[in-house]
């Protein structure tokens, strides 16, 4: 095995396929009627800094083999990270034992046969080759900036590569690999702080120093915050704030969630739920997205128009949900067995043309919000979410930013919010802390409900 600065590199796809084939061969000598094998390999590293120094610096290599067997209309899964023949046999046996312990499932479908996938290339060699020294040097430059400006920096610089292969006894085989790089930084200038973050498949698209400068400038502007009364405000939400809030809609677009009557879209499909300026695609093939072009059963992911001009039009379907509801699977199923069915994982909002400057200039009185924090669901049907603003809230008066503001707690329905969008910026790949990365715009929203104020 070759080495990258003492770190392992990923196995070749043919080696993953050899593991899949090995398990399928071993399973042939058991009672398993069908077998599915998923092999995952990760090689991740993360450099973490705080108080202008690196305080944690980690690397991880792991390989797991997950086996699902079917016997007499029953299925179950067993997973191991040992790849010797005895351990793989043990996983098959454990899977069969689990499967046989349950009642027969009359709705269990045969495993899918061979599928065709649209190729995606999301593996950037420079990202895979990033070393601890590379990350440390970038971190040091960001920390030096903080020291120079009398601030304190904390954050991460992470990079990694991962791959998976999925095969089954009916001839299906799918493989995918990707790289990713992430830089996130908080600059503290007591009592204020601000934050910036980027996450891309290719490290060349991540500019740590630009992010450090942005967080530093904003932290300085966030000092001397004034307290405003809670209430309804026009807000300009930067993309990370939009992402972390609307990220809570992922599971509501699941056909299984609708069938279970736990989705906010129950009895709302086909109705004008959002404003006409809101359209939303599920699109793993979008150039700003990462992720495999197949789902947990190996079905090809489809592009799905979830919301068209404010009307929820389509859902995503696993094979089982599609069969039950007489639809076609969209390739968004989770690995079986599971109770949640499926979810879209690559949301793409159609944006608009308004720049952040234009949003501010058009606002008589409102708040500019950097990001939101600790968001939790208060009302699952009206999709009321609570959470806090964090790392920079600014008062906008007569078209310009006039002061920093103390942080608020919000209690806001996402459905209502997306009816109240007045302006949208261009959609880009955004990164937050509560939801998967997605392609979203900054938005200007009227009547956003802040219920309380905190002490800073």
């Amino acid at each position: 095995m070759s080495e990258r600065n003492s770190s392992p590199v990923l196995m070749a796809e043919r080696d993953l396929r050899a593991i899949v084939d090995h398990v399928l061969r071993l399973a042939k000598s058991t009672d398993a009627e069908e077998t599915e094998v998923q092999v995952d390999e990760v090689d991740e590293a993360l450099t973490r800094f705080a108080n202008n120094t690196i305080h944690q610096n980690v690397a991880e290599h792991g390989l797991t083999v997950s086996v699902r067997t079917v016997i007499d209309g029953r299925t179950a899964r067993a997973t191991t990270n040992r790849v010797d023949a005895d351990s793989l046999r043990g996983a098959i046996t454990a899977s069969l034992s689990l499967a046989q312990s349950q009642p027969k499932n009359p709705r269990l479908l045969p495993m899918p046969s061979k599928q065709r996938y649209r190729p995606v290339n999301r593996f950037a060699k420079p990202t895979a080759a990033l070393t601890p020294d590379d990350r440390a040097r970038a971190v040091k430059r960001a920390c030096d900036l903080a020291v120079k400006r009398g601030q304190t920096a904390a954050g991460i610089f992470a990079s990694g590569q991962q791959q998976m292969a999925l095969g089954n006894s009916r001839g299906l085989f799918a493989a995918y690999r990707e790289t990713h790089a992430e830089f996130s930084i908080t600059m503290q200038e007591p009592p204020a702080a601000s934050w910036a973050k980027a996450n891309f498949g290719d490290v060349s698209q991540v500019n740590p120093q630009e992010l450090a400068e942005r967080a530093s400038d904003k932290a300085h502007r966030a000092t001397n915050a004034v307290e405003l009364a809670p209430g309804k405000y026009t807000v300009i939400l930067e993309p990370a704030a939009v992402l972390d809030l609307v990220g809570f809609l992922f599971y509501d677009f699941s056909a299984t969630a609708i069938a279970d009557k736990r989705s906010c879209f129950n009895d709302r499909i086909g109705k004008q739920v959002f404003g006409k300026n809101i359209s939303l695609m599920e699109d793993v093939y979008h150039p700003l997205q990462l992720g495999a072009p197949f789902d947990g059963e190996g079905m090809p992911r489809q592009r799905v128009a979830l919301v068209d001009r404010g009307v929820p039009k389509n859902l995503v379907y696993s094979r089982a949900a599609a069969k039950a509801l007489k639809k076609k699977p969209t390739g968004h199923g989770f690995p079986l067995p599971n109770e949640y069915g499926e979810a879209p994982m690559n949301l793409v909002f159609s944006g608009g043309n308004a720049s952040l400057k234009e949003m501010i200039a058009s606002t008589d009185r409102g708040l500019l919000v950097t990001r939101l924090w600790y968001i939790r669901e208060v009302d699952p049907y009206e999709k009321v979410m609570t959470g806090m603003t964090r790392d920079g809230v600014f008062l906008v008066e007569k078209g310009r930013v006039t002061s920093a503001v103390r942080n608020f707690r919000f209690n806001q329905s996402i459905l209502e919010m997306l009816r109240n969008v007045e302006l949208l910026g261009p959609a880009g790949r955004a990164s937050g802390e509560e939801a998967f990365e997605m392609v979203v715009p900054a938005v200007k929203v009227r009547d956003f409900h802040f219920s309380e104020v905190t002490k800073f």
Binding site: Q56, T79, D133, V139, D260, K261, P337, T386, M388, R409
Partner: protein, 486 residues
């Protein structure tokens, strides 16, 4: 396992590490769920590997591997040292750790029934029967049940000579019924939401919770909530059930006392803390009757924060956090303890698995029982709202301002439990809240609740924590803001 641990330690030393500790961990997990009378998840997994943390040239490095050969662990140790040397490129001070003795020991958590030895058919039959009981109630639209078991072996070795083996068996279970009607979703759970109760116990935990007895009530409550009155918005007296108070402790005491947060090490993600160092032994955290401890010792109970040694080789301890209302202590590790002048770590370094770096985590952060019998507390209360079972939780990144909502509430009127209320919530500022506590129920109503899903760190780690609590009363609390439209 000691051979490969020694190999890793030896390699680290040869490569220039001045300190190293190694964890070999083997985790086995089984998950069973049902939904609407059918089996949902049915899976088990095992994972074994080694993680090594080293100090070299004054910088920290950590690497992990699942290749448990001599060559594999040597390469992993060498990688950890090279990462530590990279860390030193951005070094601004020396790392010094509080003294600790070496220990050679072996410990196993107590259990009477190994959950991995109980037939799967028995486990699934229980879940399916409880699921069926809930579905008998008209108006229930979704039923869910779950069982989760884990068996974790860890072998800790350090360059100061410790060799510690620990085995933990953890069980968890819960049921939930959901009802969708008239554009409203209502849910009830037992014995707690988000997966139920979890403890350092065997299958006896599942048997003790008697899911079958509680299934009909849970389902009836979920349906009845549709016709219950909306929880009002007001300032008033609040009585919290034990499980909700457990989460309140977790968020508004457990997290802010983590010394890594206090010292800014979590500033970019989990946040910091209002409990700055100048507050220690000075801040009036709560009223005189509020006493909170961080207790990882076996004698505290079978909590998710119970162990014999932490993942830095420090013995389990009991630390006063709030004593008679005064703020008295932090959760620390060897490095942060030395940083603030403590002689010894409080023993709270914990890791999710072999591939994660140990970080400061809650152990069992528990509110000591008070003196009130629960019925007497209700009888003593003229006008209040009693809230039970968490539905949502949120708190700011310095742990001042919080808001919780619960699944259900009842009015207390004239010393009696009155009508049911839906969509209850309450909010406030941490120290104001704890200073408003005027009654805590006694040991008879005290439960060591398990929170299995505490997230912290980058990369994210999930950890189980324990929170002993009994129902308690709080005055002048903001109620109902979550559903306010003002």
């Amino acid at each position: 396992m000691w051979d490969i641990s020694s190999e890793a330690l030896e390699t680290a030393k040869l490569r220039g590490a001045t300190y190293a500790d190694v964890r070999v961990m083997h985790m086995r997990q089984r998950d069973l769920t049902t939904k609407n009378g059918e089996v949902g998840t049915l899976s088990q997994s095992e994972s074994i590997g080694l993680g090594i943390r080293v100090l070299a040239r004054g910088g920290w490095g950590f690497a992990s591997t699942d290749r448990l050969t001599r060559e594999g662990v040597s390469a992993c140790a060498a990688q950890a040292v090279s990462i530590a040397k990279a860390s030193a490129l951005a070094k601004r001070g020396e790392v010094v750790m509080a003294d600790e003795k070496p220990y050679i020991d072996s410990w196993q958590s107590a259990f009477s029934k190994d959950p991995f030895e109980i037939p799967l058919e028995t486990q699934l039959a229980l879940l399916l029967a409880a699921d069926a009981e809930m579905r008998r109630v008209k108006g229930v639209t979704l039923t869910e049940t779950d069982l989760q078991f884990r068996k974790i072996d860890s072998w800790f070795a350090s360059s100061i000579g410790s060799r510690i083996h620990q085995r933990k068996v953890i069980s968890g279970c819960g049921i939930a019924a959901t009802s969708y009607r008239n554009d409203e979703i209502q849910k009830r759970s037992y014995p707690n939401s988000f997966g139920g109760q979890h403890a350092l116990q065997g299958y006896e935990l599942v048997e003790s919770l008697d899911l079958m007895q509680h299934a009909p009530r849970v389902a009836q409550d979920a349906v009845a909530l549709h016709t219950a009155a909306q929880c009002p918005q007001k300032t008033g007296t609040l009585i919290l059930g034990g499980s909700q108070l457990g989460l309140q402790i977790h968020e508004s005491v457990g997290h802010p006392i983590e010394l890594d947060r206090v010292l800014g090490q979590e500033a970019n993600f989990a946040g910091t803390s209002f409990l700055t160092l100048d507050q220690l032994n000075k801040l009036r955290y709560g009223s005189d009757i509020v006493n909170v401890v961080a207790d990882a010792r076996v004698e505290h109970g079978p909590g998710l924060g119970t162990f014999a040694y932490d993942d830095e080789g420090v013995p389990a301890q009991c630390t006063d956090i709030i004593k008679d209302g005064q703020f008295r202590g932090y959760l620390s590790n060897r490095e942060t303890a030395h940083r603030i002048g403590l002689k010894r770590s409080s023993g709270t370094m914990r890791t999710e698995n072999w591939n994660r770096l140990p970080i400061i985590r809650m152990t069992n952060i528990s509110l000591k029982p008070g003196t009130w019998d629960f019925d007497n507390l209700v009888a003593d209360t003229d006008d209040a709202i009693l809230m039970e079972t968490n539905r949502s939780w949120s708190i700011d990144d310095r742990r001042y301002q919080f808001q919780f909502s619960t699944e259900i509430a009842w009015e207390i009127k004239g010393g009696k439990k009155a009508r049911m209320l839906k969509n209850p919530s309450y909010s406030g500022i941490t120290t104001e809240f704890w200073n408003s506590c005027d009654a805590i129920c006694n040991r008879d109503a005290w439960t060591l609740w398990g929170t299995p899903n505490c997230g912290k760190g980058q990369p994210m780690q999930t950890m189980g924590t324990g929170h002993g609590a009994s129902p308690a009363r709080f005055r002048n609390i903001g109620i109902g803001a979550a559903f306010s439209k003002q």
